[in-house]
Amino acid sequence: MVDTKINLCGIELDNPVIPASGTFGYGYEFAELYDINCLGTFSFKGTTLEERFGNPTPRIAECASGMLNAVGLQNPGVKKVVSEELPRLKKVFNKKVMANVSGFGIDEYVEVCRILDKEEQVGWLEVNVSCPNVHGGGLSFGTDAKTAAAVTAAVKKATTKPVIIKLSPNVTDITEIARAVEDAGADGVSLINTLVGMRLDLRTKKPVIKNVTGGLSGPAVFPVALNMVYKTSKAVKIPVVGMGGVSSAEDVLEMILAGATAVEVGAANLVDPFACKEIVEKLPEAMQKYGIKSLNELRGKA
C-alpha cells in the first residue's frame, strides 16, 4: 500500500490532486460527471467582490501542446458565490474547498476574503495576485514584491483560514515574490499562473484573442512550471502548491519531487473532463511503479 495523503497548511487531503481555479467552475459541471469527493480538494473559479462578465470574445486560442485564455475573471461575485454556489456545492462535495480570490485593489481582496472567511466549507483562501488577463488588476500586485506583500498582510488580518498566494511566472525572479509574501505572513504559495502569450490569425491579420494577449497553459508550460516550483520550494519554508501543464499521475509525482506539497491540474480538465479522476486513480499505481511509498518522503528529494 502506498500513502497518497498530504497535509496542506494544516488540513489533511486524501491525495494531492486539486483541479485549478478557472478550469473547474464551482465544481458542479464535474459533479454531474463523477463523484468529485475523490479529489484532494479543488480551487473554485476566481471570485471578485462584484459580478464580472470578463473580457470580450474570442477568449480562447490553441497552440502546440497548450492553449491561451483571456477569460478575464468572469464570475458571479462573492455574494452570489456564498448564497448560490456554495450551498449547491455542499450537496455534492463533503470536503473543504479552496476559495480562489481576485481583486482590483487591496480593499477588494480584503472584503472578499472577509466574506469567505465565514464560510465553513472554505478550507483555504488562494489569493490570486497574478491574473494576466485583467488590466490594472491582479498582475500588477503579483509582479512587485512590495505590493504582493501588502496584499498578503492585509488579507491575513481579514481571515483565520490559511492564505495561499498564487504567483505569476511573468516576473524576473519568482522566488523574490515568494519570499516577500512569506515574510508578510502567507501560509503557502501556489504557482505558476499562466504565461503571457498571443496568437495571430493570418487570414484576418489580427490577434486570435480579442484581448490581444492571453495566458498560456497546458503541457507546453510544464517544464517552466516545474523549474519554478523547484526553485521556489528551496527559497521558502511554507508549502508550495505546484501547477502548470500537469496532465498525468507522473507529472504530479515530478512536481512533488521538485518540492510541491500539493498539485493543481488546470487545462487538462478542459480537454478531458475526467482527467483529475483518472490522475487520482492512477497515482497509487504510478507510485508503486517508481518505488514511492509516501508522497511526504518524495517531496523535494530532487
Partner: protein, 242 residues
C-alpha cells in the same frame, strides 16, 4: 454529456470544402437536435466542436467545412480511425415550440444541424419550410437531402449562381409558426430583424472545453451571462441583446 469512442465508417466530399463523415458508436448521449459534439484529434490540444447533422442508434453523422488543422485532419482520416468524442453538448432546439409550420433557416455550414431538426419535426408531423443560403453554387449542399425528408426547400445564393439571387432573408415564406436558425452572425442578425414570429438561433464561438467549465465562450443576454457551449448554443430570439 457522454465520453464515447467513435469509429469512422466513411467520409465523402459534399462540395468544395464541406465534408460528411459517418461514425459508429454510442449516440445515446445526444438528446436534442442542435446539440454538438467535441472531437479530440491526434496532435491537437483542444477538441473541435462540431454540430450534429444526424444521429441514429449507433450512427453519428457530422457535416463540416474544412477551416483549419482540425477539420482538415478529420476530413483526411481513414475509415476505421477512432475518435474520442464528448457527445450531447449544449441545449439544442426546443421542438415543443415549433407549431405546425416551422421555418428552418440555415446559412453555409450552419445548415447541418437543421437536418436532424427537420427529421425530428417531420416525425412529429410538423411541415417544415427550409430556407438555405450560400455564397455561390459551388458551396451549395444538402438541398436534395432536405427535399428527400419531405420538407419544402427554398435556396438563395449571394451571387445568384443557383436559386434566388440574394440572402436567405429573400426567400422566407409569408407565414410560419416559429423559426429555427443556424448560420453566420450577420445572417442571424438579419433574420432576427426580418422574422415575424418567435424563434431560436444557434450561435458559434471559440470554445475551450465545450461543457461549461472554462467560461471561454460567454455572451451577454437579457437573462444574464450565458455560456454558448452549455446554456446555448441555441438562444431564444427574445433573450438576445441586439
Amino acid at each position: 454529456m457522454k465520453q464515447v469512442i467513435f469509429e469512422l465508417k466513411h467520409t465523402e466530399r459534399l462540395c468544395e470544402n464541406v465534408f460528411k463523415s459517418v461514425f459508429a458508436g454510442d449516440t445515446s448521449g445526444i438528446t436534442n437536435p442542435g446539440q454538438f459534439v467535441n472531437v479530440k484529434i491526434d496532435g491537437l490540444y483542444l477538441r473541435r466542436p462540431i454540430s450534429v447533422c444526424d444521429k441514429e442508434e449507433g450512427a453519428l453523422t457530422l457535416v463540416y467545412k474544412v477551416v483549419g488543422k482540425g477539420t482538415a485532419a478529420l476530413s483526411e482520416a481513414k475509415p476505421g480511425a477512432k475518435f474520442d468524442v464528448l457527445t450531447g453538448l449544449g441545449n439544442g432546439y426546443d421542438l415543443s415550440l415549433s407549431g405546425n409550420a416551422p421555418l428552418l433557416v440555415g446559412g453555409g455550414v450552419g445548415v447541418p444541424p437543421l437536418y436532424y431538426l427537420a427529421k425530428k419535426l417531420i416525425e412529429k408531423r410538423a411541415k417544415p419550410f427550409v430556407a438555405l443560403g450560400f455564397n455561390r453554387k459551388e458551396e451549395v449542399f444538402f438541398q436534395k437531402e432536405f427535399e428527400a425528408l419531405g420538407a419544402k426547400v427554398a435556396l438563395a445564393t449571394v451571387d445568384g449562381s443557383q436559386g434566388v439571387k440574394g440572402f436567405v432573408t429573400n426567400v422566407l415564406p409569408e407565414n410560419y409558426s416559429y423559426f429555427y436558425a443556424c448560420g453566420p452572425e450577420p445572417m442571424l442578425k438579419a433574420l432576427y430583424n426580418a422574422t415575424t414570429s418567435e424563434g431560436e438561433l444557434s450561435f458559434e464561438e471559440r470554445m475551450g472545453c465545450g461543457f461549461g467549465a472554462c467560461m471561454g465562450c460567454s455572451c451577454k443576454t437579457i437573462a444574464g451571462n450565458k455560456r454558448i457551449c452549455k446554456d446555448g448554443p441555441v438562444l431564444k430570439k427574445g433573450e438576445i441583446l441586439w
